[in-house]
């Protein structure tokens, strides 16, 4: 008998056209934090989904705490003490925190579901682990960081001693990330084993005990943080060296492309989200919006792209007032939009990659003649996108929904960049994307700028904004509180402004 919490031997998983996992072997010990690294589509999510019983395997053996298992559903994995936080949260938005946490493992009082006891238990649990949440709050009213806590508490409630976390930090603010890393270390000290998937090498170096790197479904190496650094990890993942800093020349801004004046917009709950905001972006420059998520960035982007009603103020693009235009009309003015939620707003999951690659331009002459779709041209475009942006897929006929998270993102970026837009609005363009692809996407955004596009970049990654933007606009509570040139945008200063402080 071994001491391993998890021991996977030669696990394989096939999808139509891809071998997502190819004889993967892996172990996890008590109290160990194991980081799983790899490019987009390398097979990380697939591997952990097999361990969690969401996917069956096509070969290999899995031992949990020394016992051979064959899971057919998550319920069986949960019973063995495995918990998983998914890349996409699995929470019921209209239910409360307590209801979500106990769901599937509810206690009853007579025939009644005991909500009071659930709320009490959840509150106790959250205090015990330092993950404070309001047990009675509804999920949909909570920021993502809080929702993540709920996911973690859900596992703790089930007394999981194996935690699997698939890109838990992708949607967190830096502060929330730091807290989460501490929480994970706390678990490890209590003997819990953690499998941690991330694309952020800094996080790996900070807390992992061991790193396993996957490429094309195979394990290509195992290392320890003390034996390597960011460059070393990046090279292991991608198979070549990666430049982690953005290289670009000074901007050469020209005419005004986007002018936002005294804009006021409300959020979904009808509360003011963007307040009297004024901003300009010129051709040939990248303006980056730095800010903690939820300070009105989403509503600003939606207002500019025509997806959200504007209360007052104007948006002018290339001297045309677009305040009341439809998203499609705005697109026709030369505006490209990379939405922050690729699953919901960026792709039609059930459509093929080919069809998704003309979502924004399906009615242009090139792709539609007299109302008849030009399949040849569409396929040619899709092939070009997939090749140029390295979207890992068995074919362009595969449904977009079956792409790995990062490859979905790459497809959206490719579609929006390829046609040389006059204005590119990119929200979280590299969320969930591997380091190699981040480098590539950054270079493409800079190339678009150099070709004369105006770029508005919104990112929760401060480093991304500071590295890419020629001018940095700091957004706080719905307002732009400062606009700084790149050379004046110091990390600390911007961080203070983002938190609502002042420059001094």
């Amino acid at each position: 008998m071994t001491d391993y919490l998890i021991e996977a031997k030669n696990l394989s998983k096939k999808f139509p056209g891809v071998l997502a996992n190819d004889n993967v072997s892996l172990t996890l010990e008590k109290g160990e934090i194991l980081a799983l690294l790899g490019e987009n589509g390398a097979g990380k999510s697939t591997l952990v989904k097999m361990i969690y019983g969401l996917y069956g395997s096509d070969g290999g053996e899995l031992f949990i705490k020394g016992q051979k298992v064959e899971f057919h559903s998550p319920a069986e994995a949960i019973a063995k003490g495995i918990g998983m936080v998914h890349q996409h949260f699995q929470l019921v938005p209209v239910m409360t925190v307590a209801e979500n946490i106990v769901l599937g493992a509810e206690k009853t009082k007579g025939i009644k579901f005991d909500l009071v006891a659930a709320e009490k238990e959840v509150t106790e649990l959250s205090i015990k682990y330092g993950l404070e949440v309001d047990a009675k709050a509804r999920i949909e009213d909570l920021p993502v960081g809080m929702q993540q806590r709920v996911e973690i508490l859900k596992m703790l409630y089930r007394k999981a001693d194996i935690l699997i976390m698939d890109e838990p930090t992708a949607v967190l603010t830096p502060q929330e990330t730091d807290e989460l890393l501490k929480v994970m270390q706390g678990f490890a000290e209590k003997g819990v084993g953690v499998i941690f998937i991330t694309h952020k090498l800094r996080e790996v170096l900070a807390i992992a005990d061991r790193v396993v790197v996957l490429r094309n479904g195979k394990v290509v190496g195992t290392t320890r943080p003390k034996d390597t650094d960011q460059e070393g990890l990046a090279t292991m993942m991608v198979g070549r060296s990666v430049v982690l800093d953005v290289k670009k020349d000074l901007a050469n801004p020209k005419n005004n492309v986007l002018q936002v004046k005294n804009l006021n917009v409300r959020d979904d709950r009808r509360l003011p989200a963007v307040k009297d905001l004024t901003l300009e972006v010129r051709a040939g420059e990248i303006v980056g919006i730095a800010g903690v998520e939820g300070n009105g960035q989403r509503e600003l982007v939606q207002a500019i792209t025509g997806l959200r009603k504007i209360d007052s103020g104007t948006v002018v693009i290339n001297n045309e007032d677009v305040t009341k235009l439809s998203p499609h009309k705005i697109h026709e003015l030369g505006v490209a939009h990379v939405p922050e939620d690729r699953e919901k707003d960026g792709l039609v999951a059930a459509y093929s990659i080919a069809d998704n690659s003309v979502l924004n331009r399906f009615d242009e002459k090139e792709f539609s003649k007299a109302g008849v779709r030009q399949i040849g041209a569409i396929r040619a475009l899709a092939t070009k996108l997939v090749e140029k942006f390295d979207v890992r897929t068995p074919s362009i006929d595969t449904s977009a929904g079956s792409l790995s998270g990062g490859n979905k993102q790459k497809l959206v970026i490719a579609r929006e960049l390829i046609w040389g837009p006059k204005l590119l609005i990119a929200a979280q363009p590299t969320r969930g994307v591997d380091v190699g692809s981040i480098e590539f996407i950054h270079n493409q955004i800079v190339a678009a700028r150099d070709a004369g596009s105006a770029v508005l970049l919104v990112s929760a990654e401060l480093d991304e904004v500071l590295g890419l933007a020629d001018r940095v606009a700091v957004m706080y509570a719905g307002r732009i509180v400062a606009i700084l040139n790149q050379k004046d945008a110091e990390r600390n200063k911007v961080g203070r402004l983002m938190a609502g402080g002042d420059v001094n």
């Binding site: 989904k49 319920a75 938005p93 209209v94």
Partner: protein
């Protein structure tokens, strides 16, 4: 009790208001008010039951537009079951069983085979209309009438007593069914799990809940309530069976479900509203206060459905996953 009122503010206020107004009229004209309310509640009963079928289905993520057909089959089965066996109680059970079978049919088609839910419902309606017309035999009568049961004490309350607590079995049971469904959906473990399946099935799956099983079970069991509605129509309300007996009530029930915001008590209030307004209209007609051709009166449910839907849709939020088959990946 207080919690109950707090949880269900809107329906409780509506029902309270209706009660107060009803008593005002009761003091003005005892006989007419009672008869309007008796008619109104009689009209509402099958709608309420059918709306429960819709609510249980959609709360679990399955849209059921086959309620009409499920009711029709049950009405047919309960009537001819009574005629053949010579016993209305056996007829009732046969009606409920028919509802269960029809529920099971939708469950298998829409959940197990992942057929489009709307198409599955349409198929049920067509099959039901076809079978009940084909096998219909005219000139049969019920072996006995459904006895009227009075609930002691409650039935002695003026107005409310004779309207709600002195009735046939199904009409009596309906009130309790609504309370039971309401309790089950919002207060039990079954309800919590069902709602999670109807809102976000992959989250339910990740929490270890068997989505397919929950949906199969709920859709099938809800069929029994469609069975009650059908048996009520044939045995208690009409006392006979005719082709197309349900006359669009299954669709009206869906409008009531939406009007009641997928909430059993809300649906009860909405159905009472429909029932009483129809009753008032026909009372005014009888008193020759207004004079509209009968055909238009018959149209009323459909017109009201349209109006209600145009008002309610967009204001209330349906269960997020209603209508979407759940396919596990991988």
């Amino acid at each position: 009790m207080l919690d109950f009122i707090k949880d269900n503010r809107k329906p409780v206020i509506t029902l309270g208001l209706v009660t107060v107004i009803a008593y005002v009229f009761y003091f003005l004209d005892e006989i007419k008010t009672t008869s309007v309310l008796v008619f109104g509640w009689g009209y509402a009963v099958p709608l309420v039951l059918a709306a429960m079928v819709g609510i249980i289905g959609e709360r679990t993520g399955v849209v059921n537009i086959g309620i009409e057909g499920q009711m029709l089959m049950s009405a047919f089965a309960s009537f001819f079951g009574s005629v053949i066996t010579g016993n209305i109680y056996i007829g009732m059970l046969i009606g409920i069983a028919a509802g269960l079978i029809m529920g099971g049919f939708l469950a298998v088609a829409a959940v197990k085979w992942e057929m489009d839910q709307i198409i599955a419902g349409v198929v049920i309606n067509i099959v039901a209309a076809g079978l009940t017309s084909f096998f219909y035999a005219p000139g049969k009568t019920l072996p006995q009438l459904v006895p009227v049961v009075s609930i002691p004490i409650l039935s002695d309350i003026p107005l409310i007593g004779p309207v709600f607590f002195r009735n046939g079995i199904f009409a009596l049971a309906t009130l309790f069914i609504v309370l039971a469904v309401n309790f089950a959906i919002f207060k039990t473990r079954w309800g919590l799990r069902s709602r999670s399946v109807g809102e976000y099935p992959s989250a339910a799956d990740a929490a270890g809940i068997n989505v397919t099983r929950v949906r199969m079970m709920n859709v099938t069991l809800a069929g029994a309530l469609a069975g009650c509605a059908g048996a009520f129509l044939a045995l208690e309300a009409a006392g006979t069976f005719a082709r197309g007996l349900t006359a669009g009530r299954g669709f009206l029930a869906l409008a009531i479900m939406i009007f009641g915001a997928w909430n059993p008590l809300g649906a009860l209030a909405a159905a009472l509203f429909f029932g009483i307004s129809t009753a008032i209209a026909s009372q005014l007609q009888a008193d020759e206060v207004i004079n509209i051709p009968q055909q238009f009166v018959n149209l009323l449910p459909f017109v009201m459905t349209l109006i209600v839907l145009s008002v309610a849709v967009g204001r209330v939020r349906p269960p997020a996953a209603a209508g979407q088959p759940y396919t596990k990946e991988g």
